[in-house]
């Protein structure tokens, strides 16, 4: 289960006409917290490691503003990681920017040239450590730290809290427990074979499981495709969210009591609903209604939505080492597809116009978007 970095009532405090008793309760809670890491007058040393499942072993730590700290980051995983501290609210943007670095990415240690990056380590190979010394910001706030190795930012992050308040304790991430709420139902397939099939590619049949997925809405659907690519489809928003390789996902033991854990790194995140009907730009849909999905003989789902009155069907499969996404639409409208920044994306039947592929006439009724997969499994 992924533990969100920090839980505070902050987002809604502004809306709540809190009576004094609530305010008193909140202050009381803060005061009751232990002092945490901070020891006044000596440079802080904060040790952060990794745990399986693309996580840091600290989901948050606190520092006082304008003080010297040293962070020692140890990578005990088999994968490559870095440690990047960014400005508040910019984790996703920095993570996405790292995906588009292209050829020189490794030389840059997968750190994008963004003004939002405050401090960063080099890539830290498995079993080694890196140190980061800096003076903490004087502006109070929550500064995300994140691994910007491609795809890791979706899961691998935490929060450095810069605060003058009594410091709350460091939050420790618990390693994900094994066990799944999906498992293997009774079928002609022996349980062991089915379990192996769930464990990863190559699979002959698709697998579709509804779950609380990280970085998506609560009505999400995890799809494992034959060919070993998995993706998250959000039935609440009615759109594709992200795709990953390296396995499927693990649900918490109690299916409604936690987020699913991805078994591999995300290689593509779709930042927004990609289609425009009629005009682009400016044709952002006003209403998307989810209608369901249909499984074919390979148990690959095709999702159906109604987008401003137009039925849109969307299906993804792995073909020739690429992710092939087929769209089918009803009606007459010209359809536009916002081209992902990741690069290497092609389309059939359309023409490129600016940052969109444009599909007219018959090709608007059915077209495919072809996306590259990571060249090899993540190290």
């Amino acid at each position: 289960m992924m533990i969100p970095p920090v839980s505070t009532p902050a987002p809604f405090l502004g809306h709540l006409r809190l009576s004094l008793r609530f305010a008193a309760l909140a202050i009381g809670l803060l005061a009751a917290l232990p002092a945490g890491l901070h020891a006044a007058g000596t440079p802080e040393v904060i040790r952060i490691g990794t745990v399986p499942g693309l996580k840091f072993d600290l989901s948050a730590f606190s520092v006082r503003p304008g003080t010297e700290v040293e962070i020692i980051f140890t990578n005990s995983e088999e994968m490559l990681h870095n440690f990047v501290i960014v400005k508040p609210g910019t984790r996703e943007a920095v993570g996405l920017a790292a995906l588009t670095l292209g050829a020189g990415a490794a030389e840059r240690d997968f750190v994008p040239p963004s003004p939002d990056v405050l401090w960063s380590t080099k890539v830290v190979p498995a079993g080694t450590s890196a140190s980061l010394k800096f003076t903490t910001p004087t502006v109070l706030g929550e500064y995300p730290y994140v691994c910007t190795f491609p795809g890791h930012f979706v899961l691998m992050y935490g929060t450095m809290i810069v605060t003058n308040n009594p410091l709350p304790p460091v939050k420790t991430v618990v390693a994900p427990t094994q066990g799944t709420a999906s498992g293997a139902p009774p079928s002609a397939m022996p349980p062991n074979e089915h379990a192996a099939h769930l464990a990863g590619p190559p699979a002959a049949q698709g697998v579709t499981q509804r779950a609380f997925m990280p970085n998506s809405g609560p009505a999400s659907i995890a799809v494992l495709l034959p060919g070993g690519v998995a993706y998250c489809w959000d039935a609440g928003a009615g759109r594709f969210r992200y795709a990953w390789t390296g396995g499927y996902m693990t649900m918490p033991r109690a299916a409604e009591r936690g987020l699913a854990t991805l078994e591999g790194p995300v290689f593509y995140t779709e930042p927004e609903y990609p289609l425009r009907l009629g005009t682009a730009p400016g044709g952002e849909p006003k209403r998307i209604d989810y209608k369901g999905f249909v499984l074919d003989a390979q148990s690959i789902p095709e999702f159906a939505t109604v987008v401003d009155g137009v039925t849109v069907r969307e299906r993804a499969e792995v073909r020739n080492g690429r992710l092939v996404r087929r769209f089918r639409t009803s009606g007459e409208a010209t359809v536009w597809f916002a081209i992902p920044a990741a690069g290497g994306v092609t389309a059939t039947g359309g023409t490129r116009e600016g940052s969109y592929f444009k599909f007219s006439g018959a090709s608007a009724r059915e077209f495919t978007i072809i996306m590259p997969l990571p060249a090899a499994p993540a190290p």
Binding site: S7, P11, G236, E256
Partner: protein
Amino acid sequence: MNPHPLRPFPTLLTALAVLGLALAPLHAAAPARGAAPRGGGNRQPLVVTDAPSKFAQYYDIETIDLPPDSLSVDGLAVMPDGRIVVLFYRGWVCFYNPKTKKWSTFAQGLHTPLGVLPISNRELLVMQMPELTRLVDTDDDGKADHFESVSDQFGLSGNYHQFGFGPVKDAQGNLFFALGNGSNQARPMTLTTEVRGFMTPFGAISRMTSDVPYRGWIMQVTPDGRTIPYASGLREPNGIGLDPQGRLFSTDNQGDWVGSGALYHIQKGHFYGHPPSLIWREDFQGGHSPVERPVAELDALRTRAAVVFPYGDMANSPTQPSWDTTGGKFGPFTGQVFLGEMNQRHLLRVMLEDVDGVVQGAVTPFLNDAANPKMRRGNNRLAFDVEGGLWVAQTYHDAWTGEDGLQRITWKGVVPLEVAAMKLTDDGFQLSFTRPVNAGIASNPSNYAMKTYFYDYHEQYGSSKYDNHPVGITSAVVSPDHMKVTLHLDTLDAWRLYDLTLNEIVSEDGQHQLLSPWVVYTVNHLLRNTPPPRAPIPSEPALNERKIPTYPTPDRGPGGVKSVGGPQNFKPLPPN
């Protein structure tokens, strides 16, 4: 599949069960079934054979072997062709064929499905956490290939307690389902950084929460597909049902604002007492939590339960109501309601009547026998088959109090001695029995013990019994056919429970003892001239139950949780 280390000690265990001692530590010592780890240790049902049972000559209980690693049974229904459809906690939809005793899988991948309604042998409606879904096998290969969203027009925030229950379908083709509240005990309140549906913290300042649309509501889906909020004020309505006349009922579980578990007659637009769900009514939107309204105002709005189940020995967590439509194949209870109960080793049987324009009635335990551990806890879903068998599904779910399993209860053809009906009279009650009773015993008022009490309406979790006192029985008059006894009471008041214990009652032939000697009638209305309900007992607001909601703070800056999709058509929140 189920090595059971407890088996060598049936006598000891039977003794423990009789004494009511906690068996949980023994359960925890048993190895887990299959490979699936479980919190709280193994919750295998206790199996002790050859125990004497007072109901063994009337009813048989058959225990069905579940497929390996299947875990709790959270949904149950009988298919038109006689197969049993079962929902497992792991998101599987499976069929059990009672003739071949074989299992097959129809679908998997659902999220906490808790209710199923067969439409045909190839089509099911399933209520799962995010959606009411239509599952269809269009190519006749025995597996669902269409997963159509019938309704997702309700809020969902990733709070673990936002369960969905139902559906049922009325004669006009309307579907009804029920939405449980979220829990303020969840930390954080939501797991995901986005929620579905408009979100308001004013539905969340309470122990159980309705911070996204229609949590705590019964919902209607019209035949043309519109989803309409139907009735509010439910806390955790784990079980809705339609009676043979098409009237809608729902159970609820004891908790904040619910003094004791109960069965409600659900009517359009009514409010049943749990306030957070009121935030979605037009007259409650804006910048206040409904729990901050005066209790008297909330009390005046609410419709009382048709039948209240005394907390404890009768029921802690009542579940799905199911009407006996077997025409006598299940015994002498046609038209009555059978319900599950999570904590006790019995079912509940409810006898309803119309009094002064409202539905009310009595509840009695069914097949209560501590000496027969074939009867399990965790009875959660019930369904009658065409042969008159009652299928009962047990669930442990996620650390609930029950056991796991599937059983079929059948009547053996011998009529037991039971209270067949309890009807309100001008000054007491008329009891009908399933057999003629010994008139000498039954006409002696000292063989009845009646007490009366009420549960208060307040924010604190649960309610004590208030003004609990015995009621004198002036006479017990046996009818000429010895099938009925009329009890005349010293006093009879509205808005109270009347809790009756029958002692010594036996059948006229002396062959049958009364199986369930405990019946509790909820008197809301009198036959006529019903006084207004009493006001709630004055009490301080339960501030300990009110908590500032804690939502995850995604590192996307102020604004916190983002609302995407679902119902959004509500008044905006007031400015800061």
